[in-house]
């Protein structure tokens, strides 16, 4: 994580912890995004693909690309004392596939280098919720809710995967 990202993350934690609205459930994250919380993004789009195929793709790609640990090192200090800090963050995707609705969630937590306080769920705070709804047998609506100052690649990857425009993995170190 860059120095700028670290500053953003610190602000994010302070602000949300202060407001008591760190997303510890998918519903709270969706609510935060809908109410225009800081660092939140929302995207709604439709794809000409059946829900079953969109769900299968989301399951395959999220397992392949999101289940990982990302280490970020930053250097602070002036010409004298230099401090190097490494944060390791783990990401955990979960998906529940239904006939009319599929929900993918992505949780993240710092596992090394710092301690996160608060009522954090087992696999970390929710940073993204993706809801895919069946419109008809060949059409699906995808709603993506995201709340994080960094890791926006995870957010943009969903549209790539759902539409099939890019089946790569997002670089979560950016």
């Amino acid at each position: 994580m860059s120095r700028i990202s670290l500053i953003f993350f610190s602000f994010f934690t302070l602000i949300l912890t202060g407001c008591g609205s760190m997303p510890n459930t998918p519903e709270l994250l969706v609510q935060n995004v809908k109410s225009g919380s800081m660092f939140s993004e929302k995207e709604v789009f439709e794809v000409e693909r059946p829900l079953s195929k969109v769900s299968k793709t989301l399951k395959k790609k999220s397992t392949e690309c999101f289940r990982q640990r990302v280490a970020n090192t930053s250097n602070t200090g002036g010409t004298g004392l230099q401090v190097q800090r490494t944060l390791v963050r783990s990401f955990t995707p979960k998906i529940v596939i239904g006939k009319k609705h599929t929900r993918l969630t992505l949780q993240s937590m710092i596992t090394e280098g710092s301690t996160e306080l608060g009522d954090m769920p087992k696999d970390g705070w929710y940073m993204m919720v993706v809801d895919a709804y069946k419109i008809n047998k060949n059409k699906t609506r995808v709603e993506t809710y995201f709340q994080q100052p960094s890791y926006l690649g995870a957010f943009s990857a969903i549209k790539h995967w759902a539409t099939g425009s890019n089946m790569g993995c997002p670089d979560l170190t950016q």
Partner: protein
């Protein structure tokens, strides 16, 4: 694979960015059954090759610098290999960063393989296809972890 070995491999991958002495060029084997097709729009990419034994322990074999769009190497047939694709990039605002992507491959005799490696717009991929030299039938190799490496 034990988590210790996996972490060691990833550390070696990261360390390779900063200290060239920790990695060495991959010593090619015959036949040249793996085509590497790279589309790297920013930064650099490399592939680290490991041999995997029956207990899923890995041995470092060398590194291929993906500097050309088309390259060909040989990976031992009927042996399990562990490939780590490492993408490194840097920018003024985000500093330097590196991401790795792991794949297992057990080449079969009578087959050729090609890997499409890409890094562009913050997305990376390494897609492996297998093609029979007789029937020319071509299929994508799914990204799965071998059973010997999941039971530990």
């Amino acid at each position: 694979m034990t988590s210790t070995l996996r972490i060691a491999a990833l550390l070696l991958t990261t360390a390779g960015m900063f200290a060239c002495s920790t990695t060495h060029s991959y010593l090619n084997v015959s036949p040249e059954n793996l085509s590497l097709k790279s589309d790297i729009r920013s930064g650099t990419a490399r592939m680290h090759v490991y041999y995997v034994d029956r207990s899923c322990e890995i041995t470092y074999q060398g590194t291929v610098e993906l500097t050309k769009p088309n390259m060909k190497i040989g990976i031992p047939v009927n042996s399990l290999s562990y490939l780590i694709f490492n993408f490194s990039d840097s920018s003024l605002f985000s500093g330097s960063h590196s991401v790795s992507y792991e794949r297992y491959l057990k080449p079969r005799s009578g087959h050729r393989y090609d890997v499409a490696i890409s890094y562009a717009d913050g997305m990376y991929a390494a897609t492996i296809h297998e093609q029979s030299t007789k029937s020319r039938a071509r299929k994508e190799i799914e990204n799965t972890v071998p059973r010997i490496c999941t039971t530990q």
